[in-house]
């Protein structure tokens, strides 16, 4: 890699202050530190440091997303061939999905990273790694039929309004990927919900409802629990396979990057609420027939619990706060699904809502610590 290093060092002066390309300094620096870990040494404080950094952390999250993403691609193809008819082998099914999903990923990364680079340059910051994950999450929570310009617009909205105006990665209040989805959802509802958006290349006159939409309409679910667990059901690109999401969850928990407390408490909150509704709702309410497992396997519940709720920046930060935060997400997600007349899915709104309240939850937990200290001082 000597030649690459030499090449970068040779062209570095052009990107420094006063150089020909000084406007692209952040781009160069970001690229340089991406290729080679900086040679910076500790000058004060601890002389040795833990080997982990944000690049490592984010790339582990990306790795955790890969099973769900690959399966999502396959599922896009599967749904298409399933409904449009026609026989296709494994690879052609996968390739179909791959060709549909890849442009979405590229658009999301190009738009998001472009804005990140620009704002890093304007503010004189280094480029943050946060968008490496958000950029992959955004296409995974969209329906595969989402037009690319909508993906681009939602991404731009999420990065600018959701993140950069607050100061960039680490300062944002809401999960950027979910914000992109929420923007899309409320701006173009007809492209985000209903029975016609979940399958790519759907022939006219055929519609395919997600399990949640079926629950919402009060029709019995066409898919059994096994299919829902493995994930060959219509839905947003990455959210359908609970199995693949669990693989990601295992990686996140083993590496300690995703909070198991949040994942578990979302699960407990959701299961508890689903159980309650199943028994408390009157029998003519369609949701009284939806079982706990159906709730947990349907829609974006698992995906949200594992990849969205655990975003360390927007989640609660204190240990006890994480339990409360997660429980409330689970409870609210199911509550919104069952009790609002507008739309079938509640996970996105539950997480965004609890993102908003996470600082308040933490405030109470920290306040407890403070009053314990004050009480001790008085006694």
């Amino acid at each position: 890699m000597r030649f690459l290093r030499d090449f970068l060092d040779k062209h570095r002066p052009a990107f420094e202050k006063g150089g020909k390309f000084q406007k692209l300094h952040s781009l160069f620096a970001g690229f340089d530190s991406f290729l080679f870990v900086p040679d910076r040494t500790t000058r004060s404080g601890c002389a040795v440091r833990d080997a982990v950094d944000l690049k490592r952390t984010m790339s582990v999250v990306v790795m955790a997303l890969v099973p769900a993403l690959l399966f999502g691609m396959y599922n896009v193809g599967h749904q298409h061939f399933h409904l449009a008819g026609g026989e296709a082998g494994f690879w052609s099914v996968f390739l179909y999905g791959f060709c549909r999903v890849l442009p979405m990923i590229i658009v999301s990364y190009v738009v998001g990273l472009g804005i990140e680079f620009a704002s890093a340059q304007i503010r004189g910051h280094e480029i943050n790694e946060g968008f490496l994950v958000s950029g992959l999450l955004i296409p995974m929570v969209m329906p595969v039929t989402a037009p690319l310009w909508m993906v681009a617009l939602s991404t731009a909205f999420a990065v600018i309004i959701g993140k950069e105006i607050f100061g960039g990665t680490g300062m944002n209040i809401w999960n950027p990927a979910l914000l992109a989805r929420a923007f899309f959802f409320f701006s173009y509802p007809s492209r985000m919900s209903g029975d016609k958006v979940w399958v790519a290349g759907l022939p006219d006159g055929i519609s395919q409802a997600t399990p949640l939409a079926e629950a919402y309409q009060g029709t019995p679910m066409t898919h059994d629990l096994g299919t829902m667990f493995w994930g060959l059901i219509p839905g947003s690109v990455g959210e359908t396979s609970t199995f693949c999401i669990l693989l990601g969850a295992i990686l996140l928990i083993v590496t300690g990057i995703g909070s198991w407390k949040i994942m578990l408490s979302v699960l407990l909150g959701g299961a508890g609420m689903a159980l309650l509704l199943q028994h408390a709702l009157p029998a003519d309410n369609p949701y009284s027939h939806v079982t706990v497992l159906q709730h947990l396997l349907a829609g974006g519940f698992a995906f949200g619990a594992v990849f969205m709720a655990t975003d360390p920046v927007t989640a609660a930060q204190t240990g006890r706060g994480k339990w409360i935060y997660g429980l409330l997400i689970g409870v609210l997600a199911i509550l919104i699904r069952a009790l609002n007349p507008g739309y079938p899915e509640g996970m996105m709104l539950a997480i965004l809502l609890m993102n908003t309240f996470a600082p308040l939850i933490d405030w109470f937990v920290v306040q407890q610590n403070i009053s314990r200290r004050l009480k001790r001082a008085r006694s």
Partner: protein
């Protein structure tokens, strides 16, 4: 037997180059220095000029605002140099040592007649007073106050730290005399916080508390937090165990005898071992000819809190070890993406968590770039205190004194949060921020 306090959170960083404490040899040295920079918030006023003759125990400089707090020469000799830095800040007062040390003689009353006032007076005169630090703030104690209790940590849990038992093997008598003197200084107890296996031969007149767990279990600040946390308006004093021995030696012999056993450790040391020297010795006298080739970083102290020095600078006033590790100024291709078998991380994103027994040759590479706070719950895993470190740090960054007070600034010293800095994904300079917080509190609230 007191109940053992088991600390569950913390981290032992296993490094190569642990000292063989059985190997002790003398490290003769011609130059010694006392460095004003070793003492937090000190403005020094010189008492000597270049060329002056001093005896061991004669003042070199004093605290400008509290002239009774003196800093004295560890050896007799001639003042060789006043080292200065930017804006003529005094960095070190260097003394060229005589062949044989001649000591200034102090008048010590019989142990029974020793009162608290006399102990304070003699410690101030002899220049040993700075060994007594106060919490909050981790600064030299104010001699006009009295603490609610005195705390001494009986073990050093930091990476590669030598076993105090070995360093202080021949100091039983001095330790006893030191604890006797400290006992005159507080209406409360003198606490010796130690590990269960060392509790049996504790000196008389001390309250023994038992601690176990990973680093920072040996940090006195962490121990106080679990025994008798410091509230607003309260004072506790702390002394390190090797310094108790020096204080005891002074009260036994009536002279400033600062002989100190120091461990030379780290992966870049040929044979890590102990050396007999004095407080403030030239680093070169200990390290020269004993290091491996290559670019290396010499630290006075341990890898978490130590100060970067070179062979021409001097051992820190409070330090009992010198650590030498490789310099890490190299660029690694896609270093964040490789499996990283030689790297150490607590995050389990590297395979190091599969080999808990393995020792590492860690270098000074920063491993990444500075970022905003992103991860949560990371600091808490290595801080065995009931404190929210990130909230405290944010209060300091915001300069919010009231919040700092409420979140426990009185209970921490930078060294207690050093591991937070080590594990931080965002490479936040935690110790620097705590330093700043303490400085802010002292400026605003005195």
């Amino acid at each position: 037997m007191p109940k053992e306090i088991k600390l569950k959170r913390g981290l032992d960083i296993k490094l190569e180059g642990e000292a063989d404490v059985g190997r002790v040899s003398p490290a003769p040295c011609n130059y010694y220095a006392i460095k004003p920079t070793d003492f937090r918030a000190l403005t020094p006023k010189l008492e000597v000029k270049v060329g002056d003759r001093v005896k061991a125990g004669d003042p070199l400089f004093v605290n400008k605002y509290r002239p009774e707090i003196r800093f004295t020469a560890p050896v007799s000799g001639v003042v060789e140099e006043i080292r200065r830095g930017e804006k003529r800040k005094i960095l070190a007062v260097v003394v060229k040592a005589d062949e044989r040390i001649s000591y200034k003689v102090f008048d010590i009353p019989a142990p029974d007649a020793l009162s608290g006032e006399v102990v304070v007076e003699r410690l101030l005169e002899s220049g040993l007073w700075p060994m007594i630090k106060q919490r909050p703030y981790d600064v030299i104690a104010d001699p006009s106050t009295r603490p609610k209790a005195i705390f001494v940590s009986g073990f050093d849990s930091s990476p590669l730290a030598p076993d105090y038992k070995a360093l202080l093997k021949d100091e039983r008598e001095a330790l006893q005399a030191g604890f006797d003197a400290l006992n005159k200084l507080t209406p409360g107890a003198v606490n010796l916080n130690t590990q269960a296996e060392d509790a049996s031969d504790a000196p008389r007149g001390v309250k023994v508390n038992l601690f176990s767990g990973a680093h920072p279990a040996g940090n006195v600040g962490v121990q106080i937090h679990h025994l008798d946390p410091i509230n607003k308006g309260e004072l506790a004093w702390v002394v390190s165990l090797p310094d108790v021995a020096l204080i005891g030696r002074f009260f036994l012999g009536g002279r400033v005898d600062l002989r100190r056993r120091v461990a030379l450790v780290g992966s870049e040391v040929e044979t890590p071992a102990c050396y007999d020297t004095l407080v403030g010795a030239l680093v070169g006298s200990i390290v020269e000819g004993r290091l491996r080739d290559g670019r290396r970083c010499i630290l006075s102290g341990n890898v978490l809190t130590g100060e970067r020095v070179d062979a021409e600078s001097f051992l820190g006033f409070y330090h009992t070890m010198i650590t030498v590790i490789p310099e890490g100024d190299r660029r690694e291709f896609l270093g964040w993406a490789t499996p990283g078998f030689g790297k150490f991380s607590v995050s389990r994103t590297f395979p190091s968590f599969l080999f808990p027994k393995k020792r590492y040759r860690l270098d000074t590479n920063f491993h990444g770039e500075r970022r905003a706070f992103v991860m949560s719950g990371q600091y808490e895993k290595v801080l065995p205190m009931n404190i929210f470190p990130v909230y405290l740090l944010k209060a300091i960054l915001a300069g919010d004194l009231e919040k700092m007070e409420q979140l426990g600034i009185y209970e921490v010293a930078p060294e207690d949060l050093a591991l937070c800095e080590f594990v931080c994904t965002s490479k936040i300079p935690v110790q620097e921020i705590v330093d700043k917080g303490i400085e802010l509190m002292m400026k605003e609230l005195i």
